[in-house]
């Protein structure tokens, strides 16, 4: 029996449900654990700053990104970067303090090329595959973003980059059961085994290592 984990949950006050409500709904759906990840602008709004177990850094420039990584690395278990801009994507993959590069395809292009993929593999930065496009976006936008995601998935498969699947949920209506996420991942050319790893082993390893990557790979 696999332990499924979602590490891309945005809880109240950023999202519409409290972490406890998310936990309750996620357990019912079949997740054994969730990790609350706050976007960096919302970090200070959490009444208890120890609550979110991760942070998703939103940065305008590469310099800003490096500063924020240095600031947040010591305090949170998971450091992910809000992708979209190509320079930010590349800087995130270059930095071994980053755990996950979330949705790099949110810009004009797919956001990852062979250089970025090799850097991500070298620095153990996982690619965060947000499957919320399936239910949050309109038809034309969805087909464009899914095409980018498919390209990114095939690059990750070629260069051995770890992939993690999240529902990027802002409310309980954005949570999907692991079996549904696996069915959606199949449409993005992930095999059943790869989807299984992306939902269980890969996010669990990120939580367990808590920012301490293996020296041998760096």
């Amino acid at each position: 029996m696999h332990e499924y984990v979602d590490i891309g949950i945005h809880a109240f006050p950023e999202g519409a449900d409290t972490p406890k409500r998310f936990n309750l709904v996620a357990n019912r759906l079949g997740f054994s654990e969730i990790a609350v990840t706050a976007h960096s602008p919302f970090w200070s709004q959490f009444p208890d700053s120890s609550l979110p177990s991760g942070v998703e850094i939103v940065a305008a420039t590469v310099r800003d990104l490096r500063k924020k990584i240095a600031f947040f690395r010591g305090m949170s278990t998971i450091v992910s970067v809000h992708g979209g801009d190509e320079r930010i994507n590349r800087a995130a993959c270059k930095d071994d303090r980053v755990d996950v590069l979330m949705h790099p395809e949110r810009g004009k292009f797919s956001g990852i090329n062979q250089v970025t993929a090799k850097l991500a593999e070298k620095n153990e930065v996982a690619l965060g595959l947000s499957l919320d496009y399936f239910w949050k976006t309109q038809e034309m936008q969805r087909s464009r973003l899914l095409a980018f995601q498919r390209r990114n998935v095939s690059l990750c498969q070629k260069f051995g980059v770890q992939v993690i699947i999240t529902s990027d949920a802002c409310s309980r209506f954005d949570l999907r059961a692991p079996r549904q996420l696996k069915a959606l991942a199949r449409l993005l050319l992930l095999t059943d085994r790869e989807a299984e790893i992306a939902l269980s082993e890969a996010p669990l390893n990120i939580i367990k290592r808590g920012g301490k990557k293996t020296e041998a790979n760096l």
Partner: protein, 167 residues
């Protein structure tokens, strides 16, 4: 017309699902939304292969029929439903079975779930009016609508553990 012999008939699978919703949904709207989403994902040819039909739906749980080779596609289509009639929903698949009888016995047993409509003002963790209780879960209409607008929902979701005074 003479009916098809059993060996020539289509084989179906019945997928049991559970619906979480903000506003109540009727079967016809659900059927239309499933078809629309499946068409948007797989196109006309894809939908024709799926043979989707909502067999039963009681407002919270139901059964959808599909071709036995395309269960995963149906699961993907159900997972892709985010809104029905401009109200947020989430369709969660519970399990798949080969007959309606087995699907009902295995997955659609009546769940004893207390659902209360309440109306009390709360301040923790957010100021607003608590309106619905499902078991341990409470929905709040907040005074400050910034968060709900950002998440595109109507209610803030908390649990009884977040606000023990509401027990």
């Amino acid at each position: 017309m003479k009916p098809l012999s059993p060996t020539l008939r289509d084989n179906y699978r019945y997928v049991a699902f559970k619906l979480s919703f903000e506003d109540p949904i009727v079967t016809r709207d659900l059927q239309t939304e499933i078809e629309r989403t499946a068409k948007s994902l797989f196109g006309d040819i894809g939908v024709s292969k799926l043979s989707i039909r909502v067999v039963a739906f009681d407002g919270t749980k139901g059964l959808v029929r599909c071709d036995f080779r395309h269960v995963l596609e149906l699961q993907a289509a159900l997972a892709s439903i985010g809104k029905i009639k401009n109200s947020r929903v989430c369709v969660t698949t519970i399990g798949t079975s080969g007959t309606i009888k087995a699907a009902i016995e295995k997955y659609l047993q009546i769940e004893e779930k207390i659902r209360r409509i309440i109306s009390s003002y709360v301040t923790v963790p957010i100021s607003g009016k608590a309106v619905r209780v499902y078991g341990k879960e409470i929905d709040i209409i907040p005074e400050d609508r910034k968060t709900v607008d950002r998440a595109d929902v109507q209610f803030i979701g908390i649990t009884i553990d977040d606000n023990e005074r509401l027990i």
